[in-house]
Amino acid sequence: MSIKTVDLKANILDDNNVLAENTRKKLKAEKTFLLNLMSAPGSGKTTTLTRLIEKLKDEMKIGVMEADIDSDVDAIRISAAGAKSIQLHTGGMCHLDADMTTQGLDSFNSKDFDLIVLENVGNLVCPAEFDTGASKNAMILSVPEGDDKPLKYPLMFQVADVVIINKTDVAPYFDFDMERARKNIEMRHPGIDVIPVCAKTGEGIDILADWIRKNVSEWNK
């Protein structure tokens, strides 16, 4: 036996990144837009989605993949709003990776849809690290979380293509300064789209729906 040293420079996430890139190519060919929706727990992902589905369900075929550690309460709400949904149980994992996403897409027959939303696990840290193969990343920042979140979770705001600021109706009660929030987001990700909404009242959902329409049509070009 002899001692041997092997020098490598292997990125641990290379496999994941390759799979994610393949998924993106496949979805592009199928003309299916995959939106990876990320946020902290309780920021209103499912409520925002049900509002969006109401706006868009007559013009595009929508599917939702719900990633939760357990339970199917969100999937039931999505079905009631008029979109097909499946539940991806992550088995305790704090994020989705490209492999889990691909499995979900396969069981879903992704080519039958124009828009698939991947509702990632509620968490601002890990989901930002793992490319899922989505066409675009969206993140929801809700008012009660505070306007300083972009300072605390820089990577999440860097990987996002759009930030949806939800629960704008309660801003006066939470010392949430919209301008300060915009400034902090811009600092992390210059030029990013920021869309304030109130999913409860429906305010701003039209603008968000337009963002989806624009991105879906660009994806299909």
Partner: protein, 119 residues
């Protein structure tokens, strides 16, 4: 929080590389951890023992090196480590546009072990 998924991937990658290189056993696995990744080395070590159990990695040590975050300013081209002291902006020109060029993710950098063959 996500150390487990990194450790499982790291062990898989190390095993694959060890097999390819004809190692009978591995004594050390070296990996670089980007500071931006938010990984806690303590938990990496703890989970590594579990992931290595029953494999040729079982008696190996995991040597972790943290790598600093490095950004390149899209405006003036300066390279800097973002810090709260200047609001994470470029310390030279004050712009926020930058590309993170180092300090993300986990890299398997080196393996040490005993090779199978005598010759």
């Amino acid at each position: 929080m996500h150390e487990m998924s990194y450790v499982v991937r790291l062990a898989e990658l190390a095993l694959k590389a060890a097999e390819k290189e004809g190692l009978a056993s591995v004594s050390a696995v070296y990996a670089d951890i980007g500071k931006m990744t938010g990984i806690v080395p303590y938990y990496m070590q703890k989970y590594y023992k579990l992931a290595a159990k029953g494999t040729i990695l079982e008696n190996s040590v995991l040597v972790l090196t943290e790598t600093e975050v490095l950004a390149r300013c899209e405006g003036c081209g300066s390279e800097y480590t973002p810090s709260a002291a200047h609001d994470y902006l470029c310390p030279v020109c004050g712009r926020g546009n930058c590309r993170i060029i180092a300090g993300r993710g986990v890299t398997l950098s080196r393996l040490e072990g005993e090779s199978k063959d005598e010759h």
